[in-house]
Every structure is written in C-alpha cells, then in structure tokens.
C-alpha cells in the first residue's frame, strides 16, 4: 500500500467513524431536538405543567374564536389529535384556518394550552395566485400541509 493509499484509507475510516458517532448522538438526543411537539406527541409526552413547550400543527378549520380584545382561541390538529389553544397578542399575517402554526406556551391542568407566542409556518409550495385559483377550481388543490404526510405533522 502506497503512502497516498494509506492516507486515503485513514481519511475515509475517520470520516466513517465520525459520521457514525454523530448519527448515534443525534438519534440519542432525538426527543430533545424537536422544535415542537405534534398534538399526539404532546399528549403522549405527559410534560410537567410549568414546562414551556411548543406545539405545532394545523389550525383546525372552524375552531378560531376571536375576542374579547386580542384574545384568540383555536385548536391545533395533526389530523389524529387536537389541542385547544388560547392566546393573547398579535397573530402573524399567515395565521388562518388550515394553516400550519407553532405555538409556544404551557399546557394547563385542564388540557388547554396557554400560548405566549404563535408563529406561522408556510409549506414548500410556491405558485402565483392565479395558479392556486386554477388548481382549486379544477379540484386538483391539495392543502399541502394537511393531506401531504411528507409535510411532517402526522409523521412526528
């Protein structure tokens, strides 16, 4: 084996072990790396009530109640479970029924989630408004985050 050959072998072996080590560490930390819980996961996690967590999913259509004042109540769903959320404050522009959102706050003893911050997600679909309209008219419209499991809510 020439010296170049040996250096190449050492390099590849080093990269392989480094990659394996990283993969093991990441999978060990998996639960601590999630940015938010889905409603299903949140219920299964049984977190202490004082713990600040994020819950993400779709705003359940028909669940949004505004008022009094800047108070908003809505439900976040992952199409399997849902969690009721109350929030006081300004909502992002993209917030609407059916939209992906991430709420940060605490789970109250009654099972209601009191949010201190609500962030909107947007999906990976980009198109002009006319194309979106045409898709809706032809019935080809897939509300991306609801029906597409790859968008990630149902899988996690």
């Amino acid at each position: 084996m020439t010296r170049k050959r040996r250096r190449l072998t050492i390099l590849l072996l080093a990269l392989l072990s480094l990659g394996t080590a990283t993969a093991l560490v990441l999978s060990a930390f998996d639960d601590n790396l999630v940015f938010f819980y889905s409603p299903t996961k949140l219920k299964a996690a049984e977190l202490p009530p004082e713990r600040l967590v994020r819950v993400g999913g779709l705003v359940l259509p028909g669940s949004v109640e505004k008022g009094p004042g800047s108070r908003v109540a809505f439900a976040i769903t992952d199409n399997a479970a849902e969690v009721a959320v109350v929030y006081e404050g300004i909502l992002p522009d993209l917030f609407r029924e059916g939209q992906g959102v991430v709420a940060q706050g605490r789970l109250e003893p009654g099972g209601r989630f009191r949010a201190v911050e609500v962030l909107a997600k947007h999906d990976e679909n980009y198109m002009p408004p006319e194309v979106a309209e045409a898709l809706k008219e032809s019935g080809e419209w897939r509300p991306a985050e609801g029906s597409d499991p790859k968008a990630g809510y149902a899988t996690q």
Partner: protein
C-alpha cells in the same frame, strides 16, 4: 512566469509547474466567469424583482427567496468544495488544494451570513420571528462558525502550509454538518419549510418562479468561481513573492 521560478533549483521549477498551468487556465476562464456572473445576476434580479409573480400565500415577500435560497445553496456548495480540496491536500498533497480552500473560506462565510440575514428578514413577516432555534437555523449557524474557525485556523500559524493542513482537518470534521443541514427539515419538526427544489418527487415551485431562482443560483455560482480563482491567483503571486524575497536575502 516560469522563468521567475527558475533560479532556486530543478525542484522548485517542478513545484511551480502545476500552478503555472493553473494560472494560465484561470486567466483564460476569468472573463467568461465575470461575464456569466454579471449576465445571470442582471437577468436573474430583473426576473426576481419584476418579471415573476407574487406568491399565492406569501405575496411580494417571496422575492427574498431569490437571494436567500441561492445564498444558502452556495453556503453548502462552497463548504463541499473546501472539503474536497482539503481531502486532496491531506491525501495527495496537491499544492493548489490548500490555496483553493483558503481562498474559498471567506466567500463561504459571506454566503452563509447572507443566507442567515435574508432568512431572518424573511422570517419576521412570514413566521412572526427573526430567529428561532430550530434544526435548520441552528445547523446553518454552526456552519457559519465553522467557516470563521477555518479562516482563523488557516492564519494562526507562522508557516502557511501548516495553517492550511490544520484547517483542512477541521474542514473534514465539519463535513458531518452538511447532511445535517440538508435533512434537518425532514428529520425533525422545524419551523423552516421542507425542500422545494431538491426533492425526489420534483420541485414544488411554479416554473415562473423556479427559472428566476435557477438563474440567480447560476449567477451566484459564477461569482464564487470567479472570485475564488482571483483569490488563488493572488495567493500564488504572494507565494512567489515570498520565495523571491527569501532568495534575495539568502542567495546574495
């Protein structure tokens, strides 16, 4: 050019043989890369700002994408180039590889900073936050720090060769971050959206927006190659200058 390197000995001539060829090649490529950069960025920016539609969901804000996404792609691509150059420096001791890595690091850092900054500006109106510690953003921030570490380490040694070899090791260690960045949006729940272009089932972005994006990406790539070659040429000239100065003081 090569007559400058003749005085020392046959070995020095041999060492400069490949760089001399590189200099000629780089010199002839330069105008094409510069032209490609200006053309693509000019056409791309016009299409991005005026010639493409607003998004059905995000409105005019979507135009940030035409800078943000190419910058983020380049942040990864430049790191990949540095990693390949580092491997070729450590394994085959290629004399130019260290210079390519050294010349690329500040460019990669600039692209990464641009991606982070435009992402932050985009995040505020769309998500409602400038910054969140989600998987994608955190891993790209680590990439930015890796670039800064590479720049610092390359310049931390008295001898340029030792600096280049030390930072080559760091660059190869940092390679594990690249798949983490790419797949962070698939592995974990993130605020950041999943991939729109580089995905197995084809782009989920309308052609009227995809083309301006790809032209911008081509412009960014030309810019990187252009400025990287320019910087490597500068490094080579500097190395030759150092060698001549050494001859001046020792030889006479």
């Amino acid at each position: 050019m090569s007559d400058l390197a003749r005085p020392p000995a046959g070995s020095a001539l041999h060492r400069f043989a490949s760089p001399a060829r590189f200099l000629r090649l780089a010199g002839s490529l330069q105008p094409w890369l510069a032209g490609g950069t200006l053309l693509c960025l000019g056409v791309g920016l016009y299409l991005a700002l005026f010639g493409s539609p607003a998004d059905y969901q995000q409105g005019e804000t979507v135009r940030i994408m035409y800078v943000h996404v190419p910058a983020a792609w380049m942040a990864l691509f430049v790191y990949l180039c540095i990693a390949l150059a580092s491997a070729s420096l450590l394994v085959w001791r290629h004399p130019l590889a260290g210079l390519v890595a050294k010349a690329s690091a500040p460019l990669g850092a600039a692209f990464t900073f641009l991606a982070l900054a435009t992402g932050s500006l985009w995040g505020k109106p769309m998500w409602g936050t400038w910054w969140e510690w989600d998987g994608r953003m955190t891993s790209v921030l680590i990439l930015f720090f890796l670039y800064l570490g590479l720049i610092a380490l390359t310049n931390a040694f008295e001898s340029p060769e030792r600096g280049q070899r030390a930072s080559a090791v760091l660059a190869l260690v940092g390679v594990v971050n690249l798949p983490i960045i790419k797949f962070s949006v698939d592995w974990w729940n993130t605020l950041h959206q999943p991939a729109s272009v580089m995905r197995l089932d084809g782009p989920t972005i309308d052609p009227s927006m995809l083309w301006p994006l790809l032209i911008m990406a081509a412009g960014f790539t030309f810019y990187y190659l252009w400025v990287m070659l320019l910087r490597v040429r500068g490094e080579l000239v500097e190395a030759r200058l150092r060698a001549l100065q050494r001859l001046e003081t020792e030889g006479r």
